[in-house]
Structures are given as C-alpha cells and as structure tokens.
Symmetry: C2
Subunit: 340 residues, 2 copies
Amino acid sequence: MHAIRKPYLLFLGDVGSDIFAKTAHGLKDWCPEDCVAQWRLPDCAVDLGLEELAPEAALAAGARSLVIAVAPIGGALPPHWVPAILAAIEAGLDIVSGMHGTLAAVPAIAEAARRRGVRLHDVRQPPAGIPIATGRKRTGKRLLMVGTDCALGKKYTALAITREMKRQGIDASFRATGQTGILIAGSGVPIDAVVSDFVAGAAEILSPDAPQDHWDVIEGQGSLFHPAYAAVTLGLIHGSQPDAMILCHEPGRMRINGYPDFPAPSLVTAIRHFEECARLTNPAARVIGVSLNTARLSPEQRSDAIEAAMDETGLPAFDPVASPIGDFVRGFAGALDHAA
Amino acid sequence: MHAIRKPYLLFLGDVGSDIFAKTAHGLKDWCPEDCVAQWRLPDCAVDLGLEELAPEAALAAGARSLVIAVAPIGGALPPHWVPAILAAIEAGLDIVSGMHGTLAAVPAIAEAARRRGVRLHDVRQPPAGIPIATGRKRTGKRLLMVGTDCALGKKYTALAITREMKRQGIDASFRATGQTGILIAGSGVPIDAVVSDFVAGAAEILSPDAPQDHWDVIEGQGSLFHPAYAAVTLGLIHGSQPDAMILCHEPGRMRINGYPDFPAPSLVTAIRHFEECARLTNPAARVIGVSLNTARLSPEQRSDAIEAAMDETGLPAFDPVASPIGDFVRGFAGALDHAA
C-alpha cells in the first residue's frame, strides 16, 4: 500500500487555470492541515492562497513530500517542470505524482531520487506484493461507497462521512482507492490499476483488522452497472466485506456516462444487486443510505429528489454537500454498533 | 491478443513425471494436428509417443514454434534448459512459454531472439494495448463457460463442445482465456492477468465481430461465487456478452476449493446469478445446460448426479468426458439460430 510522508508542499507548475488544479483544491479542502505551502513557476494562474515556499524553506517549515497537485495537459510531466522536481529532490523531499506517466520513467528524476535517498510515489501504480484474497472476516467495521455509475460523488461522500464521524468522536479512517483519495489520505491502493486476479486481495489489505468500534470508510470505484468497470467494483466489494454501503447517485442521470445504450438502474434495483453481491463475503451487508449529487438542481428540485429517493428506497437520503449529515451518521453508527 | 505460429515442436525438458506434463498431454489431446514432434533432454521420463526431432529437423518437418510444454518445479526456467531454448531460436523457431517467469527476462534468450528475429510468447502475460470495453453488441454468437467454482472442467467443456460443433459442421471457434487454452488455440488472452479496468475490454477483443451463424465458445475463468476471483469472472462475462452459458460443476464439491468458509452455491442459485449479471451486456443471455465433472464418481453415481442436475434445473446435463453431447449441441445451436 502506498504510504506517503506528510505534510505536503503543493507544486502547481505553471498551469493556466483552476480546471487543471482539481487535485490541489481537493487537498486544500480535505486535508488543509497537511498542506504546508504552495510552490509555483512563473506565470502560474492558480493560487490556493497558501504561503509560497520553495523546497528548502518548505522542508524547514515541516514539509516531507512535494505533491504534483495539478494535471498537465496530456497527462505527462512537461520537460520544463523537471528542474523544479530535481530541486525538490535535492532539498530532500519525497515526490508524489498522480500523472499517467511515472516519475520513475524520467531518468534524471529516478537517478536523483536514488542518489539523494528520497522516495518517488506514482499513486496510479499499484504497490508490489498484493496477495490473493483470503476471504477471512476481519475485525472492525466497514462502510463502502457504491454507485449507480462512475463519477457521481463516491469519493466526496466518503470524505464527508468520515469528517462527520470524526466530528462526533467516532474512530474512523478514510480508505482511498483512487489517486486523488490516496493523496488526501496519504495512503491507499489505486484499485482499478490492480491485475484482476488480485483486486479483492488489494481491497483486503486496504482495510486491515481494526478495533471492533473502528470504521473504515472506503472510497468506491466504478459500478456493477457499468459495462467496462464492473469487475473493479465487484472485487472491491468482495475484498472490502462491507458491513454497510451507501448508494451514490445523480438524480436525472438516466444513462451510464459515455455509454448511451446502457440505462442507469433504479435505486431499488441497484440496492438489491449490490446487497446480493456483497453478501458473498459479508452476509450482513446492507445499503443504509442514498447519497445524491444534486449540484445541477435548484433548491426545490433538490428537496424533491431527496424526498423521492427516501420514498423509493425507505432509506435516509441526503446530498452531503448541501444537507446536514450529522443525524444520519449518528443513526447508522449507533445502530450498527448495537448490532455487532 | 497472442497469435502463435503453429505447428509446434513440444519441448519436454528432463521432467521426471507426467504430473509436470499436463500441458503437453493437453496439446496432444486437443490439437494433435498441431504437434509435429517432441524434443527431450537426457533422462526425461515423459514420452508423448510423438516423433523425436531436434529443432532443425522439426523446422524442416514444418514446425514454427517450440512450446515449453512442461511445468518445471518452482515455475521458473531451469538454467540447464537455456541452451536448448537457444538452439531452437538459432534454428528459427518462435518460443512459447506458459511459465510464471518470462522468457524475455532471461537476457541470453531475449538477445538471441532479437538477433535471430524470432518471437517470444509468454502466454501468461497479457498483450499490450487492451482497450476499455465499449459495451457495443457484436455480431455472431457466443457461448461462455461459467462455474460454481474454479478448476472443475470449464476448459475441458469448452473444448469438447467446440469439437462436437465442428463435427456437426457448425462454424465454431474455441476462445482461450488461460495459458493452456491459449497454447491449444494458438491465440487468446490470459484474462486473470489483465488489469481490472481492462478485463471486460480484453474479453471484447477475444471474441470479435463474426458472421451471424458463427459461434465463439469461450473458456471461462473463476466463479462469481469465489471470494478472490469473482472480479475476473464478471469482467469476462460482461465483455463476452454471451448469448448462452453452460454452468460447470463438480457434484459433491460443497465448498469453494481452498476456501472452507465459502459454500458452493446450488445450481439454481448459480444459474439465476450468472444470468442476472450477464444480462447487463446481453439481455438475452441464459444458461442452457449443466456440465458435470464426475471423474470421482462411479457409473451409477454419475447417472444419479446427471439425473439430479436435470431435475433441479430443468436443463440438459452431461459430463462431456463420459456422456455423448451430440444431441445437446444440435439442440441448442438449432434453437438459438432460430431465435436470432
């Protein structure tokens, strides 16, 4: 499993717009305490409002890793960023990247890191040595995000739930399965990059044995209703052995994104299928709530959508961006504690 | 997709027992017309009864590839076999291996192959460039093997069905998803070695568009009821878009092999779940028969098991090793032709 040293110096390069800085904003939103400073090249149009520090000064201020927190066009490291990366290595910072091209594939970076003894983390690459799943039931509790489709708020929901659980004094950990989540958590496994024989095993090591009242809140990936990515989702479900799942959905999304021949399932169909599949490795698994992404709706439409989801499923429903989730978290954590 | 040049010279090394020669026997059983000769080192205890030819002579007799058709202890190429491999390369044969360690990782072999211009096929390695699944419905018909568990006869069933279809003049291709199958077919994708995001895409390229009366008979992998490997199975199902499935089962196997906490499903439960999952990409998908591995049963027990499976499921049941399957093949191929 990736284990990244925090806190971070956020490298923003010279990108021209916030469009390329989603990762940087995600880090600042979800782990501000881990973001020591930002570092930018001339003409960078993005500003997170953090202190501006070069690597040496950031290290002195506590930083341990430089995170490439922007997505360059094309996904590969622009050659004119390499001197900055080398400078960070020379200062003694680990380097962390979520780009498609790996840091280790740039000879100057690989060589400098080896010589200086710092670590390179390509968080899209799975770690070595992932085992075959054992199916053994682990201690502690697990809440997994599932969805009617990809890209509709599973990561956001998991982060918001984890934050609220901690606020209520519940012992909880966010467990990341994708690159942005891994940067936020400082650890995790990019589950969709794992060889299929090992997906369930990767999910098992992602949420190891824990105290009985501990909750792992696991970022989901893909959907059982997606014609390309359902395998990722099923392996993640089986290895996670979730006690509880939250179904994430975007009201009004009638089709799988990019796959117009594939209708999105109804909430009830999705709940039944996720529960049936999850019960292979945890017979008690159940969906306990519905998280709606209502960003495109008016306040009235939002209320109607939440009401409709509750009526359809008989479960609590909310938009974690727009609704208070304190009562929901208090309710399920208490109920499942008693059930255990 | 792997595309291996046939026919083969089967290399048997100096293994001490037929236990290590399952691949060689599988090739001789299922594609005897592709096995030109065998080649053995001194003290080899295995004999396939084929003509004994060294590489030069095998090439003259038509061979195009040397297949390492035995499994050395530990799964890695024994160093004392390397000179034989190099001799085959010098003669101009491609080299094909299903071992865990790759041929390309042995510098002398990689260098000799490059210099001589022959190809190295490590059939456990997936090919490069596998696309994300599109979900697009392809032309032609597809029959996929599924199972209540791993290792209970899916490959054997697919091969036997393909052979019988061809015997009846039906246009059919065996599509291989594992290393032995790939050697038999001369092509295929080792589906369990594919990164999970691409499993369904790999299954799509494995059975491309075909004439409307053509059948791809696809070797299955894993099981939806296996706590480690279900992801592989689901991706294979979704990408295969099967019109029909055959459920493979071993009567008396009450537990998933090696996972004593996991019961094997009933035939009816398995049929319902495979059909539900397959209908995401082919709404007409259905299980049309049950293939039983009755190798450990007496003739009386075999008849009883077949009778019981038919009673339980209402479907034809057979052991492809022990039962005639001509009527079954004639029945489903005719029925599904009319339905199309």
